[in-house]
């Protein structure tokens, strides 16, 4: 009987620090599998955000830089401009990318920088303890919206994929989720497509991955999956939002 399961070479042996029920680990694995399949590990540079994935570099086996909060797209721009032959991706959460780093991601996307962004959206600040994010749902309780997100006061959650897709510059923009196997298969395809567009020097590529945060949502892992499916997905619809051409 042959080997049916193995750990991607791009993934390290380290045990992650992520909470039970969090999908970061799954998304890391998808990225690692894609990097293995495209055989680009030895020329890839990842950029870790500030947030739960700040230590992402511990879980991969290729070059990594660690950014300041929200600035990963600017760092990726710096790398890609001086070393277009490197494969570069940023891995960012929704506080990092959609709040403090909104300027950097929009301009990088608009310049058509040839790197890939994996945007993990779990509708909350995780690392700092469950504060409200720009992506927090209406009436969702967080540690800084204890009575629920009041959209009359702080506006509606930002649909980043659609926002970036509205730019006129060609890009690959997709939204996926990693909460159930049937979605995970599609998410991997999108991540692979995103890296392939970069490999071809085609365009900026962006995959939003709707994720869970059982810890800060105050739910069990299973409750979190159901809440994401029933509450987040209707607001954050899945699929390719924009393709180049």
């Amino acid at each position: 009987m042959g080997k049916t399961f193995h750990k991607p070479e791009a993934l390290s042996d380290a045990q992650t620090h992520y909470c039970p029920g969090c999908t970061h680990g799954v998304i890391h694995r998808l990225v690692a599998e894609v990097i293995d399949e495209l055989q680009i590990r030895r020329r890839t540079v990842g950029i870790a955000p500030v947030g739960c994935a700040v230590l992402a570099y511990n879980y991969f086996t290729f070059d990594f830089q660690e950014a300041a909060h929200g600035r990963a797209p600017a760092m990726a721009t710096g790398i890609k401009r001086v070393r277009p032959d490197l494969m570069v991706f940023t891995y960012q959460g929704d506080g990092d990318l959609a709040s403090i780093g909104m300027g950097e991601i929009i301009h990088a996307a608009n310049r058509g920088e040839k790197f890939t962004t994996i945007f993990v959206n779990n509708a909350v600040y995780g690392m700092t303890g469950g504060q409200m994010a720009p992506t927090t749902m209406p009436n969702q309780r967080t540690t800084t919206s204890p009575f629920g997100r009041n959209v009359a006061d702080v506006g509606m959650p930002i649909k980043v994929a659609e926002l970036l897709a509205a730019l006129q510059t060609p890009a690959y923009i997709s939204r996926q989720t990693a909460i159930k196997p049937k979605y995970i298969v599609k998410a991997k395809k999108a991540i692979k497509k995103a890296f392939e567009y970069q490999l071809a020097g085609k365009c900026f590529s962006f995959v939003e991955v709707v994720s869970t945060c059982p810890t800060n949502w105050g739910m069990t892992a299973l409750e979190a999956v159901n809440w994401a499916e029933n509450t987040l997905l209707p607001y954050y619809p899945l699929g390719d939002v924009k393709t180049p051409e």
């Binding site: 590990r41 030895r42 020329r43 890839t44 540079v45 950029i47 870790a48 700040v54 230590l55 570099y57 991969f60 086996t61 290729f62 070059d63 990594f64 830089q65 660690e66 950014a67 300041a68 600035r71 600017a74 760092m75 990726a76 721009t77 710096g78 790398i79 401009r81 001086v82 070393r83 032959d85 490197l86 300027g103 950097e104 301009h107």
Partner: protein, 361 residues
């Protein structure tokens, strides 16, 4: 080596290219936008990288990203822009990457003005961004010196794996003076394979590199800070530069002044000598590390009555001069900080009034 007449800002841009730096990211701000304008034309000619970022915040991190993968890289800005880049500068220093920042200073605080100033002395020499880091800060007094310092900055940044700042006032950027680009200052970047995230295939290694400034373990972070401190101590031993002017006379007053201000002081010193008043100058060319010992020694001259810090800032360098003199003599300040550069006559008047004050005592 042909002598050419060039504006300081353009010469700074050309100097980067001549030094072998073909990567430049910037955001426009007066009084240094000519660097970006110049390099937007020049970089394509040498197959270099020119990119106008969306903000100084973003540019700071473009520099970080590029530096972290081992490229020679520079940006230029002016005071408010440097404030915005200071976050990235802290990260770059923390992550130990070489990069060159040029600050063509304008008046502050806040939006301030656009005329010459030296009001960012403390920001450049003591921090600006957060955390325990220092920049090696060089302060040119002419377009030629700006060229040489820019060209020397790259190997220094690589030697220390630390950001270097060239601190010039608005006049250094705006003046035209004859310059030559010394061929012997062109250098090749050293081997960065042991730390740069330049790709495992590129450096032919199976070991991955990691560029970061995050150290959650207090002992490890402390050790990292001690390592940084050792570099700054090495700079103090090896990189102090200054110029002495008329220090071989029986001077009554010692001036410490840098940049454009020091040139005004030199003219004032020449004029005062015609009146029989003997004044000497120490011109720091590096502001960090600061020429403390040279100033202390010069302040020990028997004939000297008072030391003056003359600066286009409100006594920022005075603190370092005072620290250097260590109480041997009174230390006084003269300067202006609105963009109106003091004239030689104003400097001379100030020197005379302090000399009179301390001659009586």
């Amino acid at each position: 080596m042909r002598k050419v007449l060039m504006k300081g800002n353009e010469a700074i841009g050309e100097a980067a290219i001549r030094a072998g730096c073909l990567n430049y990211f910037a955001y426009p701000i007066t009084p240094q936008s000519e660097v970006a304008e110049y390099l937007s034309k020049r970089m394509p000619e040498v197959n270099g990288v020119f990119l106008q970022g969306e903000s100084e915040v973003a540019v700071g991190y473009m520099i970080f990203g590029a530096a972290a993968c081992g490229a020679r890289v520079m940006t230029t800005s002016s005071s408010p822009g440097i404030s915005l880049m200071s976050e990235a500068i802290s990260y770059i220093a923390g992550a130990e990457c070489p990069a060159v920042f040029v600050n063509i200073m304008r008046g502050g605080p806040g939006l301030g003005g656009i005329l010459p100033s030296q009001a960012d002395y403390l920001q450049a020499t003591k921090g600006g961004g957060h955390g325990d880091y220092r920049l090696l800060v060089m302060a040119p007094a002419s377009v030629q010196e700006a060229v040489e310092m820019v060209m020397q900055a790259f190997p220094l940044a690589e030697k220390y794996r630390n950001p270097i700042m060239i601190l010039g006032d608005g006049l250094i950027g705006q003046m035209m003076e004859p310059v030559v680009f010394p061929d012997d200052l062109k250098t090749e970047p050293g081997n960065k394979n042991d730390w740069a995230t330049n790709g495992m295939d590129f450096r032919g290694s199976d070991k991955r590199n990691l560029v970061r400034s995050l150290y959650l373990d207090p002992e490890v972070l402390n050790a990292q800070n001690l390592k940084l401190k050792a570099k700054y101590e090495q700079m103090k031993r090896e990189e102090i530069r200054y110029e002495s002017y008329k220090t071989d006379t029986d001077y009554q007053v010692l001036i410490v002044s840098y940049g454009t201000m020091s040139r005004v002081c030199k003219t004032a010193i020449d004029n005062l000598l015609e009146e029989g008043i003997r004044v000497a100058l120490i011109r720091p060319q590096t502001l960090f590390p600061f020429p403390e010992a040279a100033i202390r020694q010069a302040a020990s001259a028997k004939s000297c009555r008072v030391v003056m810090s003359i600066e286009m800032s409100m006594g920022q360098m005075l603190e370092d001069v005072d620290r250097s003199v260590q109480g041997r003599l009174p230390v006084e300040w003269y300067g202006k900080c609105g963009g109106d550069v003091p004239t030689p006559e104003e400097v001379a008047d100030s020197v005379k009034s302090f000399l009179q004050k301390y001659s009586k005592e």
